[in-house]
Amino acid sequence: MTASASSTRVRGETILDVNHVVKHFPITQGVLFQKKVGAVKAVDGVSFQLRRGETLGIVGESGCGKSTLARLLMRLEKPTAGRATLAGQDLFAASGGELRRIRRNMQMVMQDPYTSLNPRMTVGDIIGEPFEIHPEAAPKGSRQRRVQELLDVVGLNPEHINRYPHQFSGGQRQRIGIARALALRPEVIVCDEPVSALDVSIQAQVINLLEELQDELGLSYIFIAHDLSVVRHISDRVAVMYLGRIVEIGTEDEIYDRATHPYTQALLSAAPVPDPDARDHRTIIRLRGDVPSPADPPSGCHFRTRCWKAQEICAIQDPQAVLRAADPHPSACHFAELRPTAT
């Protein structure tokens, strides 16, 4: 029933436009006179568009740069290069009052509901804190009422406004984090692993809440997670990251049913399926070794050291994320093709 709704949501105008964003963390040597000896290429040229009312899922393994990307978008890190606009305004050039105004429009939900809430503040103060920074968002007299409304919106009891975070369970704390993100009525919310710290039965409640809020408020989400099933469930489009780059991006069906990049195919095949009958007729693509260090990524295609299709060209020429003949969605592989055994 919501499937049809989600397909219409996709047709929105672009609200967030990210172009070749790069973040290199310097590696330095020496105590007094630090000299730069290298760089961790956490995000290495990432481009994508987020449309209004859409959820863009970003998946990848640890160290692929997905959280750094989130921090860049929130302006918690300074990008090394690149450009991004939010509703037409330059995200990286803004500073001072202008930056504050832009930030009102984009908020973040963090992974760990235990450390992202100040234990000495009441829930009312936590959710109301954005109003201190943006007093124009809610006049002083109405703030308490607005906070109680927010508690109600995320399914918490508005009477608990004076309680402290430790009096809530993990799932409830994540709801508090979501209420705080909603306080300024942003158009875009960046969710960095919002459900990975939660138990299965609680995870579903929070995912449903995020989807309901999106339908009601027309929010756009950047949804970062390592759990492929959760991302498929919530996303309209999905970007797969490997070593600081997007290797494949497309609609949910294009990525999950018609992936053409070998890394995406391996990632999907390795995800455990909760069905014992699938055990025997599931072929897992077994990748060799580990993800290389982002301080010294392989030349050409970053994935080539673990790829079974790798040829000479992969070490020389960096494949671009362009439309491929196998399936018309961007895939950064010289040998992009559908997985033959995929059913």
Partner: protein, 345 residues
């Protein structure tokens, strides 16, 4: 499919031959400053040679505490085993003095943990740590222990094992560290391997490698394995049998295929329905309402009744026994049969 023989059982049935490992009616409580937390409330399970039993549960369900009790590594205090038996090859481990217990721990029953970085000692090279067991237990010389450590590292497929012997844990990646810990656990060729969330901290591609390795080792070395996890996907891939825990009890116990096909406890059913599936797109997820219980105040009757969609008055008043269904599965639900058949029909 309509008539199922349902009979209540007093305790877990024991076959004449006896099991390799058997936990009987185990009760563990934590005596804390805030009160008494009943963490394990009558857990019984058994393990036969060569099989894989998965213990599935959410945080606080008691799955890890049960395993720690079996290993004899519970932190006492605050944890106290108030009653129950843990039998290994017929011998009650809880009655043994610590010195004898220690002989069994590590040699016959070994354990691996979720977080290899904190389970390994950061100030010793991994080769030394793997060899330590061999030197202590078998009195091996340093050269022999070294040679055997390389073999073990080869066994768990650590590339260039002999060169990495002198490396420290922080020099290994997460997946490789997990392999080091597995190599240590295998040093004495245990009959039972307890794996407590062995892949939870790992990425999916590495998780697949480690689960493959564990399955191969289990088969090649003819070990039995207890896999403790919260991940319904991992369980479906490797387990023979599943015990689902909730509030310190095993609420359902079945072979893996029948459990996924037709869960016979509302909690299991709720869990299976609430996970998003890789092979299915959107829609609203069904949820289990409410929160897991506070173990200091476990609800009356069936501990799951405040969250159960099928709750009746009897569930509030009477603690359900384990009902044995006709196919040998057990479920601690007054309406086990109805719950299961609802799914079948």
């Amino acid at each position: 499919m309509s008539q199922h023989a349902v009979r209540p059982t007093p305790a877990s049935p024991t076959p004449p031959g006896g099991h390799l490992l058997e936990v009987r009616d185990l009760h563990v409580e934590f005596r804390t400053g805030e009160g008494l937390a009943k963490v394990i409330n009558g857990v019984s399970y058994h393990l036969d040679p060569g099989e894989t039993l998965a213990v599935l549960g959410e945080s606080g369900s008691g799955k890890s505490v049960t395993a720690q009790a079996v290993m004899g590594i519970l932190d006492t205090p605050p944890a106290h085993i108030s009653s129950g038996e843990i039998r290994y090859q017929g011998q009650d481990l809880l009655g043994l003095p610590e010195a004898q217990r220690r002989q069994i721990r590590g040699r016959d029953i070994a354990m691996i943990f979720q977080d290899a970085l904190s389970a390994l000692n950061p100030v010793f090279p991994v080769g030394w740590q793997i060899g330590e067991t061999l030197r202590q237990r078998l009195g091996m010389s340093r050269a022999d222990a070294r040679r055997r450590s390389v073999e073990l590292m080869d066994l768990v497929q650590i590339p260039a094992a002999s060169e990495r012997l002198g490396d420290y844990p922080h020099q290994f990646s997460g997946g490789m560290r997990q392999r080091v810990m597995i190599a240590m656990a295998l040093a004495m060729e245990p009959k039972v391997l307890i794996a407590d969330e062995p892949t939870t901290a790992l990425d999916v591609t590495v998780q697949a490698q480690i689960m493959d390795l564990l399955a191969d080792l289990r088969r090649d070395l003819d070990m039995a394995m207890i896999l403790i996890t919260h991940d319904l996907g991992v369980v479906a891939d490797v387990a023979d049998r599943i015990a689902v825990m909730y509030a310190g009890r095993i609420v359902e116990h079945a072979d893996v295929r029948s459990l996924y096909r037709a869960p016979a406890h509302p909690y299991t059913k709720g869990l299976l329905d609430s996970i998003p599936r890789l092979d299915q797109r959107g829609g609203k997820l069904s949820t289990i309402r409410g929160l897991p219980p506070n173990l200091m105040r476990i609800p009356s009757g069936c501990p799951f009744h405040p969250r159960c969609p099928y709750v009746q008055q009897v569930c509030v008043d009477v603690v359900p026994h384990d009902l044995v269904l006709d196919d040998g599965r057990t479920s601690a639900c007054h309406f086990a049969q109805e719950v299961r058949d609802d799914r079948v029909s």
